[in-house]
């Protein structure tokens, strides 16, 4: 469905994507997780043919997406940069969108439009940020594109609308399975929807695994610093918080049950690490944590 091989994108000297490779399968919901400026938006724009990769190979529906009419007709990128002509009302925008997208479901669009109580005569430019996001989301859902991409879709939405959005997305996905990518920097509010997670950092892919695996990716160990140190050796640590001789450490879960039993015997508490935390630990900068900033004093 989507395959990227060593994709690099540079803008005037800054590298947004750095030899990124990934494969996204058909009819899955994939979460694209990364911090600001990790290259999420760049990747999505390359996939929908808005911009062109500097090097590497990109294929969407076995075609090179840039400037490709077929890819454009079968994909949609919903983000807060969507610009609609301001002399045209919201209702007319829905009608026009219907002209362009063959799979467009006007019935769904109108029911969502009504549910979120939009004024048919309103102008897109006059909407608040959250309302814009909601309207864009309606376009994204109703267009029923085989590749539907949401880039930070919930910006500005309130909690209720956010929930409604994820619920609507899921229901429509179940009824009409398609390939969906949602990018966000917070995973927790949508992790139940996702089948796969693609974590990127500084333009490179870090992880691309099923969501359920991500939940078991790491474990947290809590106990005496000395015991933990001895037991872990020089195994890389995801995060570490210490208070005198007591520490909490998160590490990649490469242990079998027996090893975990052993460490429990030594008075170490073993706890799972949530997917959101895993992503946070994985994508944080190399300069240590925020703790290190304060340690200097």
């Amino acid at each position: 469905m989507i395959s990227c091989k060593h994709v690099t994108k540079t803008y005037r000297g800054t590298t947004a994507l750095n030899r990124l490779s990934c494969n996204i399968h058909e009819n899955t919901i994939t979460g694209l997780i990364g911090r600001n400026a990790a290259g999420k938006t760049t990747l999505l724009k390359i996939l929908t043919g808005m911009i062109k990769e500097s090097s590497g190979e990109v294929e969407v529906f076995s075609k090179h997406p840039f400037n490709n009419l077929f890819v454009s007709a079968n994909s949609i990128l919903v983000d807060d940069q969507m610009s609609f002509a301001n002399s045209i009302s919201l209702y007319e925008l829905l009608q026009q969108a219907g002209r362009f997208y063959k799979n467009w479901d006007m019935d769904l669009a109108l029911r969502l439009f009504d549910y979120f109580s939009f004024q048919p005569n309103a102008i897109h430019e006059g909407l608040s940020k959250g309302r814009k996001s909601t309207f864009n989301m309606i376009i994204g859902l109703a267009s029923r594109c085989p590749l539907t991409i949401f880039d930070e879709p919930t910006t500005g939405m309130d909690a209720v609308v956010r929930n409604d959005f994820y619920r609507a997305l899921l229901k429509d996905y179940i009824a009409h399975p398609r390939t969906i990518i949602i990018s966000s920097h917070h995973l927790d509010e949508m992790e139940h929807l996702l089948e796969h997670v693609l974590v990127i950092k500084k333009g490179k892919e870090l992880l691309h695994i099923p969501m359920e695996d991500l939940k078991e990716y790491a474990i947290g160990l809590e106990g005496k610093t000395a015991v933990l140190k001895e037991w872990l050796g020089d195994q890389p640590v995801l995060t570490k918080r210490t208070a005198s001789d007591y520490a909490y450490i998160a590490v990649k879960n490469d242990f079998d049950t027996e090893q975990l039993e052993q460490v429990k015997q030594q008075g170490v508490k073993v706890s799972p690490v949530s997917a959101n935390d895993v992503c946070m630990y994985l994508t944080k900068g190399q300069k240590g944590g925020i703790d290190d900033v304060f340690r200097q004093r």
Partner: protein, 127 residues
């Protein structure tokens, strides 16, 4: 229902929910259970995750598959579930209990006494 943002993988929660439904008789033997899509809608989760939960139950032979029709409760479902819970859940709880007792320096006899006392109390309440 489910703890979506919790640390327990959702597919395991789905499997446990389904087991509970079988135990309390919502699904009878040889009755068709919910499809992955129904479950996904009910619990607001990805269908693939729901499928994984169902698959787990199939592997444990709690459910069986009729091709093209869906998944059904196997005749031995209740027994299997109870056996599994005994061997896994109960054992895990006991391990934790023993560990905790050790940390609190509770003697073995004292611990056993506490268990007996608790059991008596519960039985008493039942009567």
């Amino acid at each position: 229902m489910l703890d979506l943002n919790g640390v327990t993988p959702i597919y395991i929660q789905i499997a446990e929910w389904m087991e509970n439904q079988i135990l309390n008789g919502t699904f009878q033997i040889d009755e068709k259970v919910h499809s992955q899509y129904t479950l996904a809608e009910m619990f607001n989760i990805n269908p693939a995750t729901a499928a994984k939960g169902l698959h787990l139950l199939s592997e444990e032979e709690i459910l069986y598959t009729k091709r093209g029709l869906g998944k059904f409760v196997s005749p031995l479902a209740k027994t299997i579930i109870m056996e599994k819970r005994k061997s896994q859940t109960l054992t895990g709880l006991i391990t934790d209990l023993v560990l905790e007792a050790k940390q609190l320096q509770v003697e073995d006899d004292e611990l056993l006494e506490m268990i007996r006392k608790e059991m008596k109390q519960q039985k008493g309440e039942e009567i």
